[in-house]
C-alpha cells in the first residue's frame, strides 16, 4: 500500500543540514513576504519558539510545520 492511501495530515518538513528558520520560511512559503513568513512559522511551531531556550533554537531533528493546524472534523 502506497503513501497515497494515507489520510491528509498537517504538512511538515524536517530541516536539512545548514537550514535556518529563515531559509525554511523562504523555501516553504515562497511568494510570501519574508517577515510574514517568519511570523507564520513562529505561530505554527510554538514547540520551537515558545518551549525552548533559547527561543527559536532549531535542532536537526525538529518537525517544522509549514501550515496551520488542520480543521478538525465538525469544527
Amino acid at each position: 500500500m502506497s503513501s497515497a492511501s494515507l489520510s491528509r495530515q498537517r504538512r511538515f518538513i524536517l530541516p536539512q543540514p545548514g537550514d535556518s528558520l529563515a531559509a525554511i520560511a523562504a523555501r516553504e512559503l515562497p511568494g510570501m513576504d519574508a517577515a510574514a513568513a517568519m511570523q507564520h512559522l513562529e505561530a505554527w511551531n510554538l514547540h520551537i519558539f515558545l518551549m525552548r531556550r533559547p527561543a527559536g533554537l532549531l535542532t536537526g531533528c525538529d518537525v517544522v510545520f509549514v501550515e496551520p493546524p488542520l480543521a478538525t472534523a465538525g469544527a
Binding site: S7, L57, G60
Partner: protein
C-alpha cells in the same frame, strides 16, 4: 529429576489461549515440561490457587546505572519482571570514552533524577569504554535479564565529542556512527534509542536532537542489517508532532524493514482526541506494512515532589522550574527571600496558585503534622488565610523542605479510556520508565496495576490477554528469542501470582540510592515467586543471592 517443579497452578502461558490447570518442570534454565509432570523436582513448589505465567518483560527502563549496584533492579523483579530493556531515550552508559563520563552523567542525572554519587564512580567502578565492556561489567551481578539498547546521544558523543550537541554530523562522522552502532549490535544491543525531547543538566537538547534525518536514516539502515529495533521519544505533548513522528518512523520501518516503537502515548483530558488521532495514523501506517508500536503505560500520571529536589512537576512553569533547579543552599535563600517569594507566587497565577497547586495533596510531613497529611493544599491554605503557592513555600520552609506533596491523576487516569487502549492489538504495553524520574514518582508496579485495575476491577482485559501483552507480545516485538511463552525449550522465566490480589503497593519514599539519595518505590502485592532462567530469584522471603540474570539478545 527436574531442577524444579511448579505444581497445581493455573497456567497462563503467554499465548493468549485459555488458561488451564497443570504443572511446569524446569531444568538447566529451560522449561522442560508444561502440563502433567510425572517426575519429581529437586525443588517442589505448590502453586495451588495461583497463576503461573511467563516472566514479564519491561521494554522501557533506565536501569543502566542501577544494575551496576543492584543487579535485581529492585523492586522491578519482585513485581514479576524478569527482563528489562535499559538504554532508552538516546541514553546508555556505553560506548563512552573516559573523557565524556561527566557529560553523560549530567544527562543521566537530569533524566533519572539520580544524585551525583550514583554516577561519580563511588557506587560502581567504571571499567569500560566499549559496549561489550559495559555488558561484561553488568554480567557479574545480574539477577534479572537485560536486553540493552544503545543510545543515539552516546554514539554521537563518542564520534563527535563536544560538537555532538551543537551541529549536524559530516558524512565521515555519520559513517563512523554507523560503524560504532554495528559494533554495539554485534556485542548484544537489541536496538538503538533516540529522543526528540530530552535535555541535559543545563536544559540543552541532548545530542540525538541535533541529528538530521539523513543521519537517523543511516543508523536505521544498520538496524536493518541486524533486524533490530528503533525506539524514540516523540514530542508526546503535541498530537500533530506525534503524528509526524509516526510517519517518520513508518518510512524508516518500510525503507529498512525494521521494527520501531515510540513512547509514551498518553490519554489526557487536556488533549482528549490525542489517542484517537495518533492511533488512527498508526492503523493507516500498519496497513501499509510499517511496524510502528506505540508504548502505553498502565498507571495514571501521579507526580510526587518536595521542594528539596528538582522535580518535573514544575516543568510547565519556567520560574518555578528554574528556581527548583538551583543548588539547595541557593534555593533555600531564594525561597526565604520575600521578594523572590512574591515573584514565585505571582508566577503561580493570579489566584495565588489555587488553580495550579490547590489540588495537591500533602502526603508526608516530618514530626507532628497536626492532622495535615492527606489534606489538599487549598484546604491548608484556606485554614492559614493565604493562597496555595504561599502555603507551599511556607509549609516547606517550616519543615526544612521535607514536606512531600502528591499531584494525583494528572492524566491517563480514566480506566474506561485507558483499558481499551491497552487492549488494542496495535498497542505495546510499556513506557514504565523504570528507574527514571525516581524523585517524582514510582516507576514500579505497572504490571500489578494492569491486573488489579484492568483485569480484576474493570474486566477490560482478560487474564490471558493481559499476560500475553507483557510477555509474548513484548518478546515478539523486540525479537527476543525463546522468551515470553511457557513452552518446552523456552527460557525458564516464570512468575507465580495470586490473580485475586496481585496489585502494586502504596507509593513510599525510601533512601537507598547511592549517596543517600531518595526515590519513590512500590512493593509488590500478590506475587509469590519469580524464577529467572530456572532459578528462584525472589519469593516472599526476599531476594536470593544467586546471580542468575543474563544478557538477552
Amino acid at each position: 529429576m527436574f531442577d524444579c517443579v511448579i505444581r497445581n497452578g493455573l497456567i497462563v502461558d503467554g499465548s493468549g489461549l485459555p488458561a488451564f490447570k497443570g504443572d511446569l518442570a524446569l531444568s538447566d534454565g529451560r522449561i522442560a515440561v508444561v502440563g502433567a509432570v510425572r517426575g519429581a523436582g529437586a525443588v517442589e513448589f505448590d502453586a495451588g490457587g495461583r497463576v503461573v505465567a511467563p516472566g514479564f518483560i519491561d521494554p522501557h527502563t533506565h536501569f543502566d546505572a542501577q544494575l551496576l549496584w543492584d543487579g535485581a533492579a529492585r523492586p522491578a523483579l519482585e513485581h514479576g519482571i524478569t527482563t528489562v530493556v535499559p538504554g532508552n531515550c538516546s541514553l546508555s552508559l556505553a560506548p563512552l570514552r573516559i573523557a565524556d563520563r561527566e557529560a553523560l552523567s549530567g544527562m543521566f542525572r537530569q533524566i533519572e533524577e539520580l544524585p551525583k554519587e550514583s554516577l561519580d564512580g563511588s557506587a560502581f567502578t567504571w571499567t569500560w569504554e566499549s559496549f561489550d565492556g559495559y555488558l561484561d561489567a553488568l554480567r557479574r551481578t545480574l539477577k534479572i535479564n537485560v536486553a540493552p539498547l544503545v543510545g543515539h546521544s552516546v554514539i554521537r558523543l563518542w564520534v563527535m565529542g563536544e560538537a555532538a550537541n551543537q551541529r549536524a554530523a559530516t558524512a565521515e562522522e555519520q559513517a563512523a556512527m554507523q560503524g560504532l552502532l554495528r559494533a554495539c549490535l554485534e556485542a548484544g544491543a537489541v536496538g538503538l534509542s533516540t529522543s526528540y525531547v530530552d535535555v541535559d543538566a543545563n536544559l540543552h537538547p541532548v545530542p540525538s536532537r541535533f541529528a538530521h534525518s539523513d543521519e537517523l536514516d543511516g543508523l536505521a539502515a544498520v538496524l536493518g542489517e541486524f533486524g533490530r529495533v528503533l525506539q524514540v521519544v516523540p514530542e508526546f505533548y503535541n498530537t500533530d508532532i506525534t503524528i509526524a513522528r509516526v510517519d517518520q518512523l513508518a518510512e524508516l520501518s518500510l525503507r529498512h524493514n525494521i521494527t520501531t516503537t515510540f513512547s509514551p502515548l498518553f490519554d489526557s483530558a487536556n488533549t482528549p482526541d490525542n489517542v484517537s488521532r495518533v492511533m488512527a495514523r498508526v492503523r493507516e501506517q500498519v496497513r501499509r506494512g510499517a511496524r510502528v508500536w506505540p508504548q502505553v503505560q498502565t498507571r495514571p500520571i501521579d507526580i510526587s515532589f518536595s521542594l528539596d529536589l528538582p522535580s518535573l512537576f514544575f516543568a510547565g512553569n519556567p520560574p518555578w522550574y528554574h528556581a527548583m533547579r538551583l543548588p539547595r543552599p541557593e534555593r533555600l535563600r531564594l525561597l526565604k527571600d520575600a521578594t523572590h517569594q512574591a515573584r514565585l507566587v505571582a508566577a503561580a497565577g493570579a489566584d495565588g496558585g489555587d488553580a495550579w497547586l490547590g489540588s495537591l495533596i500533602l502526603r508526608q510531613l516530618p514530626g507532628d503534622n497536626e492532622g495535615l497529611e492527606g489534606r489538599t493544599l487549598r484546604e491548608i491554605a484556606n485554614s492559614r488565610g493565604q493562597g496555595s503557592a504561599q502555603t507551599l513555600i511556607e509549609l516547606s520552609l517550616e519543615h526544612d523542605l521535607q514536606a512531600h506533596f502528591l499531584a494525583a491523576n494528572r492524566g491517563h487516569e480514566i480506566p474506561e479510556r485507558v483499558g481499551p487502549l491497552l487492549a488494542d492489538p496495535l498497542v505495546h504495553i510499556g513506557a514504565s520508565d523504570g528507574g527514571a524520574h525516581i524523585c517524582s514518582f514510582s516507576t514500579y508496579g505497572d504490571t500489578g496495576y494492569l491486573f488489579s485495575k484492568f483485569v480484576r476491577e474493570t474486566g477490560l482485559l482478560s487474564l490471558e490477554q493481559a499476560v500475553k501483552k507483557i510477555t509474548l507480545d513484548t518478546a515478539s516485538i523486540w525479537g527476543l528469542p525463546n522468551r515470553g511463552l511457557l513452552r518446552a525449550g523456552y527460557a525458564a522465566d516464570v512468575v507465580v501470582f495470586d490473580p485475586d490480589t496481585i496489585d502494586r503497593g502504596p507509593e513510599r519514599a525510601v533512601s537507598d540510592v547511592p549517596g543517600g539519595g531518595m526515590r519513590y518505590v512500590r512493593d509488590s502485592v500478590g506475587v509469590d515467586a519469580v524464577f529467572v532462567n530456572g532459578t528462584l530469584a525472589w519469593d516472599r522471603g526476599g531476594y536470593k543471592d544467586a546471580s542468575v540474570g543474563s544478557i538477552v539478545t
